[in-house]
C-alpha cells in the first residue's frame, strides 16, 4: 500500500478533533482528557491524527515540500494508534495506516532522520535495533543451559527481542521468563546469536524495506526449523510477528503469543501456581502494541458499493482496537496473592503511550521522556507503589523518566512479579 491508497480514507476526515481525546464516553473529569502525545506536546493541528491525515492529502496534491517543520511533524509521532481508536469510535476510516505510509514515503524519498538512520544501520549490519554485536545477542542466557531452536526442535520459541538481549538491566525479565517456562515444564528454545530483530520498530520508523527483509529472513528460519509457536515478552515484537507479518502475507500459520497470554494460559491450566504473597499495590500500563494495536490483522479484498454510504462488498471490518490484549496481563496480575491492582484513568484501548515508540525514543528523547512523565504522574495519582508493564521499551523509558524526575514509583514487568509469586 502507499499513501495514495488511503486518499479515500483521508478525504473522510471531518476535523472533529476526537482523535485528540480519549473516547468521549470514557471521560471522567477535566483531566486526563488527551490521548495523543504529539498534539499534546506540540499543539499545532498538524501534530494530531487528523492533522497528519490532512497534510497527507496536501502531500498527495503536491502542495507541500519537505521542510524541517514537515519532517519534525512526520517523525514526532510514537505511532501509538490512539488517534486511530478514538476516530474509529465514530468513523469508518483508516488513520494510523496513512500516518505510517506518510513516514514510509518520506524515507523512500530520502528524507530520513539521522538518528533513525543510525539505528537502521545497526539493524542492517548486526540485526539489532539497539547497539550490540550479533555474536553477543545470546549472552544474557549464558549458563542457563537453554536449547537452541536452530539446532534442536522445540515446541515453543522464546523470542527475546533486541532491547532485552542487549540491555543488561532487562536481563532479569528474560531470566524470569525462562524460570517460569521451566517451572511450567514448557519445551522451549531460544535463538541466541541466531535470533534477529523482528523488524517491527524499523517499520514504525518508516523503513518498510528493512522491515520486510527482517520478516522474510525470520520466517525463513522459523520454517526451516519447524517453529510453530513464538512467545515474546516484547510488545513491539509481538505486534510485528502477529500483526505486521500477517499484513504482509508472511506469517503463515505461526502462532504468536505474548508472554502474558502464555502465562495466563499456563496459570489457567494449572501448570503454574502463584502461591507466594506479593503484597504490593500496582497499576498496569497497557503497551500500545500489545493493547490497542495487538489485535489480529484483518485481511480484506473486495470493492466499494456505489452509493451514499461508504460500504463494501464483502463487508469490511476495521481494526478498531476492540480485540487487543487487555485482560491476560491483568488476569496474571490478579492471580498473584496479596497483589492489589488499581487502574489508571486512561487504560486499554485509550491508554496513554509510554513515549518510546515510533523512533521517538531515538530521535527525540526529550519528547519521549515528556510522554513518559505524563504517564508516571497518572500512575502516581492512583496511589500505586509500582507501575507494571509488559514491554521492555515501556519499562526502560519509564525507568529513565523516573530517574530524571525523582519519582519513588517502581517499574516492573508482569513476568517479574509473577516470578516472585511462584
Amino acid at each position: 500500500m502507499a499513501l495514495e491508497d488511503y486518499r479515500k480514507d483521508m478525504e473522510l476526515c471531518a476535523k472533529c478533533s476526537i482523535c485528540k481525546f480519549i473516547p468521549l464516553e470514557k471521560m471522567k473529569g477535566v483531566q486526563p482528557a488527551n490521548v495523543c502525545p504529539s498534539i499534546s506536546k506540540y499543539n499545532f493541528n498538524a501534530y494530531s491524527g487528523g492533522g497528519r491525515v490532512n497534510i497527507g492529502m496536501a502531500m498527495l496534491d503536491n502542495r507541500l515540500e519537505y521542510t524541517d517543520k514537515l519532517l519534525h511533524i512526520i517523525y514526532n509521532c510514537q505511532m501509538c494508534g490512539a488517534c486511530d481508536v478514538s476516530c474509529k469510535y465514530a468513523m469508518d476510516m483508516e488513520v494510523l495506516e496513512p500516518i505510517y505510509e506518510f513516514r514510509i514515503k518520506a524515507v523512500e524519498e530520502g528524507h530520513t532522520n539521522p538518528a533513525l538512520d543510525k539505528v537502521i544501520n545497526s539493524l542492517r549490519k548486526q540485526g539489532t535495533m539497539v547497539p550490540g554485536a550479533k555474536a553477543k545477542r545470546g549472552e544474557w542466557a549464558k549458563g542457563l543451559g537453554l536449547k537452541d531452536f536452530t539446532r534442536q526442535k522445540t515446541k515453543v520459541v522464546y523470542h527475546v527481542g533486541c532491547l532485552t538481549s542487549y540491555d543488561k538491566d532487562m536481563w532479569k525479565t528474560a531470566r524470569a521468563t525462562v524460570n517460569l517456562l521451566n517451572k511450567a515444564g514448557v519445551d522451549f528454545g531460544i535463538g541466541g546469536e541466531n535470533e534477529s530483530c523482528c523488524g517491527g520498530r524499523a517499520y514504525q520508523m518508516g523503513y518498510e524495506t528493512d522491515f520486510i527483509r527482517q520478516a522474510q529472513n525470520n520466517m525463513a528460519l522459523f520454517k526451516q526449523c519447524g517453529v510453530e509457536t513464538i512467545v515474546t515478552a516484547c510488545a513491539d515484537c509481538y505486534h510485528a510477528f502477529k500483526v505486521l507479518y500477517d499484513k504482509f502475507g508472511l506469517k503463515g500459520n505461526l502462532e504468536v503469543l505474548h508472554i502474558t497470554e502464555y502465562l495466563d494460559r499456563l496459570i489457567k491450566e494449572g501448570r503454574l501456581k502463584p502461591r507466594k504473597k506479593v503484597a504490593m499495590k500496582v497499576t498496569y500500563h497497557d503497551p500500545c502494541h500489545l493493547g490497542r494495536l495487538g489485535e489480529p490483522y484483518i485481511h480484506w479484498e473486495g470493492k466499494e458499493i456505489p452509493g451514499f454510504q461508504r460500504r463494501f462488498d464483502p463487508p469490511k471490518e476495521l481494526m478498531r482496537g476492540t480485540y487487543g490484549i487487555y485482560e491476560p496481563p491483568r488476569d496474571v496480575l490478579r492471580s498473584i496473592p496479596g497483589l492489589k491492582l488499581v487502574e489508571m484513568d486512561r487504560i486499554k484501548e485509550y491508554a496513554w503511550c509510554c513515549g518510546a515508540g515510533g523512533g521517538v525514543n531515538e530521535s527525540n528523547p526529550e519528547f519521549s521522556l515528556w510522554t513518559a512523565d505524563e504517564r508516571i504522574a497518572e500512575a502516581e495519582s492512583t496511589g500505586a507503589e509500582a507501575l507494571v508493564t509488559a514491554c521492555p521499551w515501556c519499562e526502560k523509558n519509564f525507568n529513565q523518566a523516573i530517574k530524571e524526575c525523582g519519582s519513588s514509583l517502581k517499574v516492573y514487568d508482569v513476568v517479574e512479579l509473577l516470578e516472585k509469586a511462584i
Partner: protein, 520 residues
Amino acid sequence: MALDKDIYRAFEDVVGPDNISDDPAILDSYSYRWGPQTETFGQRFAAITLPKDTAEVQAIVRLCNKYGIQFKASSTGWGSMSNPGGPEVIKMDLRRMDRIIEINEKNMYAVVEPYVISVQLQAELMKRGLNCNIIGAGGNCSAHPYAAHYGGGHMGESTSLRERNILAVEWVTPEGEIVKLGSLGSLGEWFCGDGPGPSLRGITVGHAAPCGGIGVFTKAATKIYHWAGPPIFPIEGVSPQYAPSEIPPNFFYRYYSFPSAKEMVEAQRRIGESEIAFEVMGFNIAMLASNMGTSNDEDYAYFEQFRKLIQGPGFQVILMGNSPQDFEYKKQVLEQIIRETKGESLKPVEDPKIAGALIWRSIRITASIRECFRAGGAFSAALGGTHPYGEEVAYMEAVSKLKKDLIKKGILRDDDGYYLTWPHEHGHLGHAEILIQFRQTPESIDAIMGFSEAAMKMAIDNRYGVPHSLSGMAPDMHDMFGPHASNYNVWQRRLKQAFDPNEVSDSSGYIKGKQQQGVS
C-alpha cells in the same frame, strides 16, 4: 500570503517561537476542509499562533491593528466559520487556553476558557450533581458558549441554548481592549451577564453567532443545571462497543413515531407544558440508526429495519427522575401524552442495553460524527432559527419537499426525507434542521448550493423567521434577511463599525463593516 519577516517576528515575540508557524504543512492542516466544496483545501492562514492567555491574545490583536492584518480566533476549529476570509489572516488557535476557571455550585455557573471541551466540563459537573448544555455537534466542541454556532443541543429541553446560558464574559475587543461584561465588570464575579455592570450581551452575541467577527472571548461563564444521575456513568466494553452495565435508576428512554408532524408537534408541546422531560430530541430514524451503528454496515441495517417499523416523524425522550415518585409521575404523564397523540414506541430500542447506550450517547453527545460524517464524509443542512416550535416544524415540512426532490434525482442519501426538530426550555422555543448526506461531486455540490439558497428564500418568502443557517456564512446573507427582520443588519453593521473600525476581526462569518455592492 507570507507575513513580512519583521511582522512575523513581532508576533513571535508575543507567543514564543514554538507557538507560531507559517510553515505550509502547519497551515494546510488548518486549510483542509470538509463539506460541500469543490476544493479540498481552502485559503491558507498567513500564520498560526497559539496564545496561552488573555494577555497574549490582547497583544496579538493590538499587533493586528498596528499592521492592518486580520485575525480569526477559534476553539476546536471544527466549524467552517473558523476558516480565514482572505489571505492576510492570522489564526489564533486557542488550544492552550484550556482551563476550567471555576465551578460555582451554589450559584450554578461554570467559567471556562475556549479549549475546554463540553465533555470535560460535563464530566466534572456530574461529579457534583450538575450538568451543562452541550451543542448538538457534540461533546467534542468547546464548552465556551461563544464558540458555538447557535448553541442548541439535544438536552435543550432542560439546558436551554447558548444565548440564554451566557453569563459574565471576558472579551478582547477587536481594538485590543479587555472588557469585562456583566457582574464581572463591577464585582469581579461571573454570576450574571447583564449586570450589575456593563451589559453588552445583545451586542456581542445575538441570534447570529459572532463567528470570530467581533474580537476574542477569552473566558466566559455559562449556566449549569441540575443532574440527578450518577457521578460517572457505568460504561463498559471496549471502543466502539460501549454500553452501560445498567440504566441508572430513575432514567427512561423511548423513541416514538407519529402518524404525522401534527401529532408529533402536539406531543412535544404537551411534554414541554408538563415539564417532565430531561431531553426531547427529534432524531429521525436515519440519525438514530447512525447513532446506534458502530459502522456504516450496522447503520444501514438498523435504518432498513426501522423504516419498516415507524408511522412517520418522531423523536426520542429521556426522563430523569429526582426520586422514584417523581420518576413514576413523569413516566405516567408521558405515557398518557403518547397515548393521546397516537405515538408508537420503536420496539427494538426499548431493549435496556440499547436504551442505556442511547441515553448516554445522547447526554454526552458523542455520536453526531457518526450521524453526519461517517456515511460519506460530508453533510450539509438547512437550519431553522430558534422560534416558536410549530413554526419551525412547518418550515422543515416545506424544506423537506426540496430534499425529497434531490433524493429522487439520486443526489442525496435516501433517508426518507426526514428532518429533525427539538424544543428548548420545555418548548418555549424550538429548533429544526434538515440534514443531507451526499458524495462530493461537482454536480452534487451545485445541487446542494441550490438547495441551501432555495431553503433560505423559502424562509423569507413564507416568513419562517431568520434561520441559523446564515450564521457563519457569507456576510451578505445578513443583508438579504435584514430587511425582513427589523433591519437588524443595519444595527449589526453599525456595531461592527464601532467596535472594529480597522476591520481586523475577520468577518467572513459575521457582517462586514462595509456593505457589499449590489446587496440591498
